[in-house]
Structures are given as C-alpha cells and as structure tokens.
Symmetry: C2
Subunit: 130 residues, 2 copies
DNA sequence: AATATAATGCAACTTTGATGCAATAAGATA
DNA sequence: TATCTTATTGCATCAAAGTTGCATTATATT
C-alpha cells in the first residue's frame, strides 16, 4: 500500500467535490476535466479517493456511477450504506440522511444495500409550481 | 404502435425467462444466444418485451441491467417498484416481495425507487455453512 | 540536489450498446 | 395455398465507456 500524493490533478478533483453540494457523475467529471487531464487520470484518481475513504460512489438510475464526498451525516450512518436521491428532471443526485428500515429477509444474509429514490428535487419542484 | 410478432428468437427469450426462477442479466443473455441470434436482436427483443409489459428490468450492483418476468407478487406491488436482491458470491439476482417502507422525504417528490439488497443468497449461505 | 517511486499521458484495445439499411419471415388476407 | 404487408432480423459500422502497459513526469523524502 502506497502513499497518495497531493498532485495538481488530485487537488482539482478535491476542489470540485468541495465546491459541490451534490454528487458528481463520472460523465460530468470527464467533461469538466477534459482539457486539464487525461480520462485515465480521472478514473484512477476517483479509484484512489474512494479507496482512501475520501469519496464514496453509488450507481445512478441509468447504471452510471456517481461520486460524493463523505460528511458527518453520510459517513457512518449504518452498516448498510445510506440512500441517495436522483432527480428525474435535472438528473442531479444527492446523498440522503434518511433512515430506511430493511425488514429481515428470510434465507438471506443482507450485508449492504443500494437504495436510490427517484423523483423531483426541490429545485425542479419549484420550477414546476411557478 | 405495432403488433409484437412471435418469432423464433422471441420464443427462445420467453422460454429462457420461463425456465429461470431468477432475473437474467443482459451479459448472460448475450452469451447464451450468441450462436442463435445477433446481439442487436437480443437488445431489441428485450426492449420490446419490457415495453409490452412481459418483462421488467433493474440495475444490478455493478450498474449492469437485469431482466425478469413479472409475477403476481412483483407485478403491482406498489407505486414504487419492488426491491431486488443480488448475491455477492454467485452474482445472481432475484425479485423480492419484501415491503420496504420509504419515509417521507422533505422538499422532494419521490416517484419511484431502485432498491437493491446485497449479500449472500440461500444457496451460497448453505455452501459456506457446509 | 539527488533519489525513489507514485502518478500521469498516451496509444492501443476491449466491451457495450446504438443505428441505418437491405433481406427475411411472421401473420393476415384473399 | 399463394400473395401481400410490414415487423423483425442480420450485418456492417459506429460511438461511448472504460482498461491496460509502458515510457515519462512530478512529488515527497533524504
Ligand atoms: Mn452518498
Ligand atoms: Mn423484479
Ligand atoms: Zn432536479
Ligand atoms: Zn449466491
């Protein structure tokens, strides 16, 4: 196991996540840093940041991967990972602190869960109302 | 909107789903029918079968798509679609009739959910115990 | 400053899935 | 049964997403 170096590229990624309230999809990150670094580099930095526990990832409604930094709320919420929300209108995804109870599942051992709620986010609800 | 023809290829797919208790991933279907039909045909038949309401699909833990036929239990379980289970050991996925309650989410409108429980299936639990 | 090696860029490659179009075959009609 | 209509398929081609090997570069340590 090696040390993670604080390179220019790594700093850019960290900044992007610090500036964002919500999760960021790989597709968006690749576009955003297209001029600054190779796509291979983006993928590899995300891998490292997740492995080192700075970020976590989840699968969006269309099977695409999203990354988000950990916060006090989303960090150790439970053994089973916290749920996420993805907006059907604008596509953005957020980490949720919502506590979803998983009833016991006979004849199975449930270790984790990928819980994605889908609908309209606050911004998009306001837009519709107006 | 046209009529869905009961072709040789369509029959093969229907048979595959009728013979299977669990969901089947696109990857597995492509391999299984590699000799029998073009991959484009597999994709197109799955699209049609889902659109016509014979099958439904969901996203697996690695972002890959799975298909399964509807049953009395999984059909109209609720507005929010029923949960699924994917085994971390053997990779297979199943539809669940388990009822998972989603608490109200302030400032959001939740229309559907993608709920995937991950762990060990019955077969794999037995294997470990022995 | 010199060194060790983690990180990056680049090219090549694989995988997955979509698309346009000509050929085929299912099902309806006569 | 023969004919007809068009839904479906095969095939070639393409695009997007992601991976890998390796030479080069940049970071952190001494
Ligand atoms: Mn999260
Ligand atoms: Mn199902
Ligand atoms: Zn929105
Ligand atoms: Zn299993």
């Amino acid at each position: 196991m090696g040390i993670i170096r604080h390179t220019k590229s790594v700093k850019s990624l960290i900044q992007a996540f610090n500036e964002s309230e919500n999760a960021i999809s790989v597709a968006v990150l690749l576009k955003r840093f297209k001029e600054d670094m190779n796509k291979t580099t983006v993928y590899r930095i995300l891998d490292r940041m997740e492995e080192s526990g700075v970020l976590h990832s989840f699968i969006g409604k269309d099977g695409d991967r999203w990354y988000s930094k950990y916060t006090e709320n989303t960090s150790a919420s439970s053994t089973i990972s916290h749920p996420h929300f993805q907006c059907d209108s604008c596509g953005k995804s957020e980490c949720l602190t919502l506590d979803i109870n998983i009833p016991p599942l006979p004849n199975h051992k449930v270790d984790s869960a990928s819980l994605l709620l889908i609908g309209q986010c606050q911004d998009c609800l306001i837009e519709i109302t107006q």
